[in-house]
Symmetry: C2
DNA sequence: ATCATATTGTCATGATGATGTCAATAGCGT
DNA sequence: ACGCTATTGACATCATCATGACAATATGAT
């Protein structure tokens, strides 16, 4: 393959990547604003989401893995959420140190409130876009994601 | 509109947004690795790109606006690039304080080298994806971007 | 020419995230 | 039971980024 020219797909993908960078920042900022009144940030919200998404209570390190984030920062944020009263730690029968993270009632209410804010927000954002196109975009981004995550997995094996 | 349920498009878009978050991190990490040997990071590379993309030399604050980033951090990175010998400051005939940022020869060579690394990388990444799908994804993301940037502009006017 | 306003670079500060280290604990093979 | 390895939470450090304040400078209205 010619290493000095981008293919048409490479060209298109370059533009897409630049949009991903820009959108990431814009969405995070918008998300921060959306849930600021609840005492949340995008990062805290995302971690609450991971706790909710898990079938059963998990220790911090497992949540961090679910989020592909590093343990230490997730730990710090979860400690803050605990001080804030949104999550609590439960004893882990299988591990004395690795306590299980659970939502408190207040945490559940806060997460639900965030969800109620997100619904009209995302519905409005999707206005004018076709479901087919959004799903095509999703397929493309998922395919890209898998390529990278494949690389990461390969490295971890090495 | 029902404010308690996501529309199908809203649902699809929610998934897309989560992919954007994840991909942003993955691509930044991959980009850092790609150009680390040149003494660059994704952030420095992006700023060099803005300098190249500008038709004529610009002061730091203008570059920051092009990048939708804040002045102060762009300033810091450009100061580092200057110490590194990749950019230089030229007197601005129209403004004594706001010097113009230009690439040095070494900066140009470094940027060209990064581009030569990016081309096979992005070509390879696009492998297996159709140009049409990538362009559809690009259109969707651009449409989203415009919505947010419209909001930002509206705020700045207020 | 004068003055109010905007722009720009600089500095300081705090929030966030990444990374390395360490001790406590758990799991597993023997 | 013993010992080796992996996992986990805690702590420290550093890089990056966001934000506010400030002085110097430029711009535009009068």
């Amino acid at each position: 393959m010619d290493k000095t020219k981008r293919t048409p797909a490479g060209d298109a993908l370059t533009n897409l990547v630049l949009d991903i960078f820009r959108l990431n920042g814009l969405i995070l900022t918008a998300g921060d604003r959306l849930v600021a009144g609840l005492g949340l940030t995008s990062a805290r919200w995302q971690i609450l989401g991971a706790i909710v998404a898990a079938e059963r209570p998990q220790p911090v390190a497992w949540l961090a893995r679910d989020l592909w984030a590093n343990r230490q920062n997730v730990q710090r944020i979860i400690n803050e959420l605990q001080k804030q009263g949104l999550v609590a730690f439960e004893p882990n029968p299988h591990h004395r140190r690795a306590q299980l993270v659970v939502l408190t009632d207040q945490g559940r209410r806060t997460f639900d409130a965030a969800m109620r804010l997100q619904i009209p927000w995302i519905n409005n954002l999707s206005d004018g876009l076709s479901v087919e196109d959004i799903e095509t975009a999703h397929r493309v981004l998922t395919a890209l994601r898998k390529k990278f995550e494949g690389d990461v997995d390969a490295e971890e094996q090495a």
